[in-house]
């Protein structure tokens, strides 16, 4: 697109000048998506740990459902949350529609399966490695689940980051339940959608570049922390001659 250079310049300008209430929008994007990620982590990882350890009839089906939920369309999630939070819906009394809280709820629903499903994959590997040893140490099922989570913490960071990435980049659900209200529920993605619809493609692209830069920074910071942690914890395996 021939707009690229001007979009890049515009992006730099946006950041430097703090125009467009940019910092407020970035701040809200980060707050909403980080909170959704924290909640999704709090729900998704214990769920994954339980699925990694538990053996019960229907477990395979549960895992299949979980994996299928990776593909949840954001708009459907948004619609579901809208219908729940609408005054005409079951949770209308709470008055949460068109608030950041509603956006957190929608994003949490959207990314909990992502955190859980990706987390489950590494937890299953860790369980294969640790199951016998942790039983040998006399751990109960619950203790084993927690220990697996602690041991896999650096691998699980990937799952959490994937969840955050999806949350911060998502537009369909937050548009519906947040309403893209200026100064209240406008986040990076809905601002981009708005500018696109106003035909201001350069500004939309500039906002997009800022969003990408944010996502990159968060990921870079997380990988740095993970690498440092990994090294100090001896993640690199040296397993005797046995």
């Amino acid at each position: 697109m021939e707009n690229d250079p001007s979009a890049m310049a515009l992006a730099v300008n946006l950041v430097l000048e703090g125009d467009y209430q940019l910092y407020g929008i970035i701040g809200l994007s980060l707050q909403v998506s980080l909170l959704a990620t924290l909640i999704a982590t709090g729900i998704g990882l214990p769920l994954a740990a339980w699925l990694a350890i538990a053996r019960f009839p229907g477990r395979g089906a549960a895992v299949t459902v979980l994996n299928a939920m990776l593909g949840l369309p954001p708009v459907v999630v948004g619609l579901f949350v809208y219908l729940s939070l609408s005054r005409a819906g079951p949770l209308g009394e709470l008055g949460l529609l068109f608030t950041p809280a509603a956006m957190v709820i929608a994003q949490t629903i959207l990314i909990t399966p992502i955190v859980a499903a990706i987390g489950l994959r590494s937890l299953e590997d860790f369980n294969t490695e640790y199951a016998e040893q942790l039983r040998a140490l006399g751990l109960s099922r619950r203790e084993r689940a927690w220990t697996l989570l602690a041991e896999a913490r650096f691998s699980l960071a990937t799952a959490v980051l994937a969840g955050f990435g999806r949350a911060v980049a998502e537009v369909g659900a937050v548009m519906i339940v947040g309403g893209n209200i200026a100064g209240v529920t406008r986040v990076m993605t809905t601002a981009i959608a708005l500018e696109t619809s106003k035909g201001d493609l350069a500004l939309a692209l500039a906002l997009g570049l800022v969003l990408i830069a944010i996502a990159l920074s968060v990921n870079a910071a997380a990988s740095l922390i993970r690498e440092i942690g990994r090294r100090s914890a001896g993640e690199i395996t040296i397993r005797g001659e046995a």
């Binding site: 005054r87 209308g92 068109f98 989570l149 309403g179 619809s197 035909g199």
Partner: protein, 276 residues
Amino acid sequence: MLKHILTRLALAALLVAGGLQNAQAAERFITVASTTSTANSGLFDHILPLFTDKTGIEVRVVAVGTGQAIKLARNGDADVLFVHHKPSEEAFVADGFGVERVDVMYNDFVIVGPSEDPAGIKASSDVLQALNTIAQSGAPFASRGDDSGTHKRERSLWKEAGIDSPSGDWYRETGSGMGATLNTAHGMGAYALTDRATWLSFKNKDGFEIIFEGDKRMFNQYGIIAVSPDKFPHVKIDDATAFVNWVVSKDGQAAIADYTVGGTQLFFPNAPMQGS
């Protein structure tokens, strides 16, 4: 170890949630369900601060198509409805969802398209002839297809022109907002019906211009309605009424008339004059 991590997570969650609380700090606000044309044209950015300064009431605008805005209000998710499709608005009030419908302002719809006017509609005597010419020439036409006010108007114009349900390769429903539809039309060199305000504030129009305008049938009236507290007790009727009254007041009407883009006035106030 894990407890530490969990404690830290919970702490972080509280901090972030605390931040959100601050973001929502405004105590007194109303929610207005309106259309993209009023919001995207910058009209609200111009007039709402004046109202907020005067009354201390923040106005939160959810800008969607007229059809969706009416659905939001019918679900009780807005305090005020500010849209542009009179028949739907009157039905809304008749069904008991709104207190009263008041005219606020008008502008008009225009047909935009490639400057070279491939179907040759520029010289049409009226909009009906213009639409018929487009249909016969097979030049592409991008329709909103989203049950918005503009879409409803477009459908009724087609009907008046004797084409009950336009269809074929040339007729493309985008199923999206005005801006997205204009972007699409621009991308495929199609004609489109749009309100003048959105068009004037739309930026992506290289090689595109207004091809046909000025037919009385393309008059675009906006109305405002406070959502009925009888239907939804939670509606902030006092503040909603304050807003409605202000919009149709001398001050509000003057603020609307003041708003221009590139020297062109976008909306023309026409609220019935009030005593006060």
